[in-house]
Symmetry: C2
Subunit: 323 residues, 2 copies
């Protein structure tokens, strides 16, 4: 029996629901916190608290107080800035017996900066989308015909599809890119796009499960529709990636197929927005979390645990509360 | 017992669910159609069919065939271009005994063009957001101090928040506005924003119900959070609007408060995206529709049928199907 805390629950109602279904079975509780009383997922846990924002100096003390109040055994977070904040303070949580269901700080830090992600993956021998921060480098690569238009100019940090510019010639590139604005340049390597939900055991560090989906329709950077697929190249790529890095817990990987090759484009060291697809098809990461929190290792990955060709569609549901 | 057809069901799962709950009670069925097999709401009716797109020449014949196949009594549509298409062919539907749960063509046509909406409302003596299609007119109004910055430049047609430019001076205005692009200019009349779900009886033409919500947070033009309110000025404005126009069935009205006054900014002659708020709080438009389709008039509006201060939040749910 464990109690689990979900931080920055936000709009991630499904994740809270799935976790609660699992944790409640053995008598545990899911506690949700958020700084915003209008976060719908708050209201889907067993209990909730409103806490200060991450940048508030009271934030950490509040989380610790919540952990003590509800005898929390494990913490999950659903937004990026908080992952780093929690990982930085791992020692404090260790001392009060709270497990962070989260990768260590050193690998988390590679995830938020696309240039860093590329450099890191390349060093490890993992194919990644070529990423450049210098216009001069890009221009000379174009001249040497080692890079060609269209190119993508986008913020080096940040998620979703905000601020993405696709450029088709040198003038457009020069207009879109300005040094110092923390922009990066990438080739347009996207024939197909995939998302992979991965769980790595917190105790053994072994890969436990993966769920591969092809993303079909995007709406403001979020996947609207996706299809479950089996894909040996992606499976091999993910296995290699996990064996060479220290990521643990739930991870969401974005991957592009381009001219027959696969490239990792993004790593989110947390549950991705498309995770419900995996869960609905039987990849129960919540059970892996529960096992790990009661000190039990999960069986290492052997094969796909889901069927191909299932389409997931998102739609709006609503929740009401009295002010 | 009536069977109802929902056209262009799209992502509007809640509307289909609410309608089905009501229609099934008396033994009727809800049939959904869409041109896209990936439209999640398709799968929440009793039966569904895939039909051609609205601009396909087979479209109308398909709808009629679906009506005959399922002995349809009433048709609802959830997207704008289709409303006009259906209303234009009212006679054909009349002949086969199918009621369009929809306003007549002459009033629908005022809704999609913001300049037309403004002209129409002004003629009727209903306060609307001043709307201009000529830069010259706007410039001279600014010079005469009858209009002031900030101004909003946006497409005269279309919905959501796509292509909206807020300008603060003449140069920015001139850059944002180009004649012939079907843009309009409006003052920035938005201290508060409200959405009103209205039902007007299909038989008597009388106002039956209204639900007023203040919109709190917008995300790509859609309301994420809203609070139910009672507001006598808006109530009076809506009563006046309905009594002076020929709208019937479900209508969604957008309204801005600015310096203490209320202005209608948009009329959607269909269920609005925020309708679930009204339904969840007891304003059961599905029951009004069912009554009308069995030939029964609904009682005219007397007072609010909902409580104030209830917050509605949207969140993503998911649905799976095998390809």
């Amino acid at each position: 029996m464990v109690n689990v805390l979900v931080c920055s629950a936000g709009r991630r109602v499904k994740v809270v629901q799935y976790l609660r279904q699992n944790i409640n079975k053995s008598g545990g509780k899911v506690i949700t916190v958020d700084c915003n009383v209008n976060a719908p997922a708050l209201y889907f846990g067993d209990e909730f608290d409103i806490i200060p924002q991450i940048d508030n100096e009271e934030y950490l003390a509040s989380i610790i107080a919540v952990c003590k109040k509800y005898k929390i055994k494990g913490i999950l977070s659903l937004i990026d800035p908080e992952l780093e904040m929690l990982a930085k303070n791992k020692k404090i949580f260790d001392e009060i017996g709270v497990t962070l269901v989260l990768s260590p700080l050193d690998v988390i830090q590679y995830c938020y900066d696309k240039q860093e992600t590329y450099n890191y993956l390349t060093t490890l021998g993992i194919p990644a989308i070529p990423t450049f921060s210098s216009l001069k480098t890009v221009t000379s690569l174009i001249e040497r015909k080692e890079l060609s238009f269209p190119l993508v100019v986008k913020p080096g940090k940040g998620s979703a599809s905000i601020g993405i510019n696709i450029v088709n010639n040198k003038i457009a590139l020069k207009n879109a890119f300005s040094e110092g604005d923390d922009l990066i340049i990438q080739p347009f390597y996207k024939d197909l796009e995939f998302g992979i939900d991965v769980y790595v055991d917190l105790i053994s560090g072994d890969l436990v499960d993966m769920f591969i989906k092809e993303k079909v329709k995007m709406r403001s950077g979020e996947t609207d529709k996706a299809i479950s697929v089996h894909n040996i190249e992606i499976e091999t790529l993910v296995k290699k990636f996990i064996s060479r890095t220290g990521f643990v817990g739930p991870i969401d990987i974005d991957c592009f197929k381009y001219k027959g090759n696969y490239y990792i484009s993004e790593i989110n060291p947390r549950f991705g927005g498309g995770y419900p697809h995996a869960q609905e098809m039987g990849c129960d990461f919540m059970d892996y979390i529960n096992n790990n929190l009661i000190g039990k290792e999960n069986k290492p990955y052997t094969n796909y645990r889901y069927e191909e060709d299932f389409v997931m569609m998102k739609y709006d549901d609503v929740f009401l509360y009295k002010k």
